[in-house]
Amino acid sequence: MNITVTLIGQMAAFVLLIWFVNKVLWGPLNALLAERQKRIADGLAAAEKGKHELELSEKNAKEALRNAKLQAADIIAQSEKRASEIVEEAKDNARAEGERLITAAKAEIEQEVNRAKEQLRAQVASIAAAGAEKILKREIDRKAHDDLLKDLASQI
């Protein structure tokens, strides 16, 4: 129980032990813990970054999709407009053509009518002359009564 020279031996052992623990256990393990801490921190930061990038690209993708949809809608609207334009144009053209055809037909009909009238007039004149010849039982000078006959024919 007395303090003896054992004290000095114990002090030497203690100092050596401190030195050794520092050298072999504390130093390496502490460095290791620090390194692990750094790696974990790095890993977490990388994960955070990756998450952020994912969000960003998702946003970009959504934006691109939205743009594409808008563009598609635009194109559809444009083509619909163009289609209706073409239809209108075709309708207009057809209408104009039809009118033109109608006008031409009308003109032809008029011509035909006129020609028929002309023929009719000529025939009526001769029929009237023949009738009058039969009625008067004499030859009528066609030339002398031409005016009368023309007048008669124009009344038809």
Partner: protein
């Protein structure tokens, strides 16, 4: 041991005395086998403390070689948790940075705990085994030897003085003796107070650990005596179970004490050295 049980009263004292006597070499009293002067070696104290220190060394060596940063094994986890515990204590109580403090605290904690743990080994086991080899005296707990506790507290004290001088300078350290704690008008009182305060640090460190462990050892011896002296014939049926129950209770309680004492020694070391590092008191 059996020889001690023959005479009841004297045997008990002898039993305890025997257990509290170190294996002495050098300048020893031939009759009582106690150290006669300073120049006596306590071989058992030296042996067990150095064996336990060597255990720390060996385990550290093995672990230090197989450190794994990514997949720590079970034991590495355990050591890491101890190191982080010590690290936290140092960070919380130690101002500034000194790379020596944390390993010092770790060594104190682990070494003191292991030496204290020797107390939990049945008190008669190792002395009986040693007796088979012709070793008459064996005190297995190094921390029940004042030489051990004062060896550590004096080392800490030397460090306290060293860092006081290093940080504050010789003048600054002496000034602390002159003007602390009562200012410049009570210089003589200050000197006395400061010297007492400084000396109380290693003294209390060493005595606290020694006292707790010595008392604990004594209680173990007394509990062991219940079976040893009273258990004869039918009475053994009562006394032996009582001894077992008491021993178990004290073991569990003592497990707390040895950890607490190791922790206190460590924390006080950190605190004292922290005080040495503070510029202005």
């Amino acid at each position: 041991m059996s020889a001690n049980e023959n005479s009841s009263g004297g045997g008990t004292v002898e039993y305890i005395q025997h257990h509290l006597t170190n294996l002495c070499a050098g300048d020893c009293d031939p009759v009582t086998h106690k150290a006669a002067s300073f120049w006596a070696w306590h071989l058992d104290t030296l042996f067990f403390s150095i064996v336990l220190g060597a255990l720390i060394v060996a385990v550290s060596w093995r672990l230090g070689k197989n450190l794994s940063a990514d997949t720590p094994s079970g034991f590495q986890n355990f050591v890491e948790s101890i190191i982080e515990f010590v690290s936290t204590q140092v960070k919380d109580t130690f101002p500034g940075h000194n790379p020596l403090i944390a390993p010092l605290a770790l060594t104190i904690f682990v070494w003191v705990w292991l030496m204290n743990f020797m107390d939990l080994i049945p008190v008669d086991l190792l002395p009986v085994i040693a007796g088979l080899f012709g070793i008459q005296y064996l005190k297995v707990v190094p921390t029940t030897d004042l030489s051990t506790t004062f060896a550590m507290s004096l080392t800490v004290f030397i460090l306290i003085v060293y860092y006081n001088v290093k940080i504050k300078g010789v003048g600054g350290y002496l000034k602390m003796f002159l003007f602390h704690p009562f200012g410049k008008f009570l210089v003589p009182v200050n000197i006395v107070m400061s010297i007492i305060e400084e000396l109380a640090k290693p003294l209390s460190l060493g005595l606290r650990l020694f006292g707790n462990l010595f008392a604990g050892e004594l209680v173990f011896l007394l509990i062991a005596l219940i079976g040893g002296t009273l258990a004869t014939g039918l009475a053994a049926l009562f006394w032996l179970p009582l001894q077992v129950v008491l021993d178990l209770g004290w073991l569990i309680f003592h497990l707390l004490i040895i950890t607490l004492q190791a922790f206190i020694f460590m924390v006080l070391t950190i605190v004292y050295l922290g005080m040495a590092h503070v510029e202005d008191h």
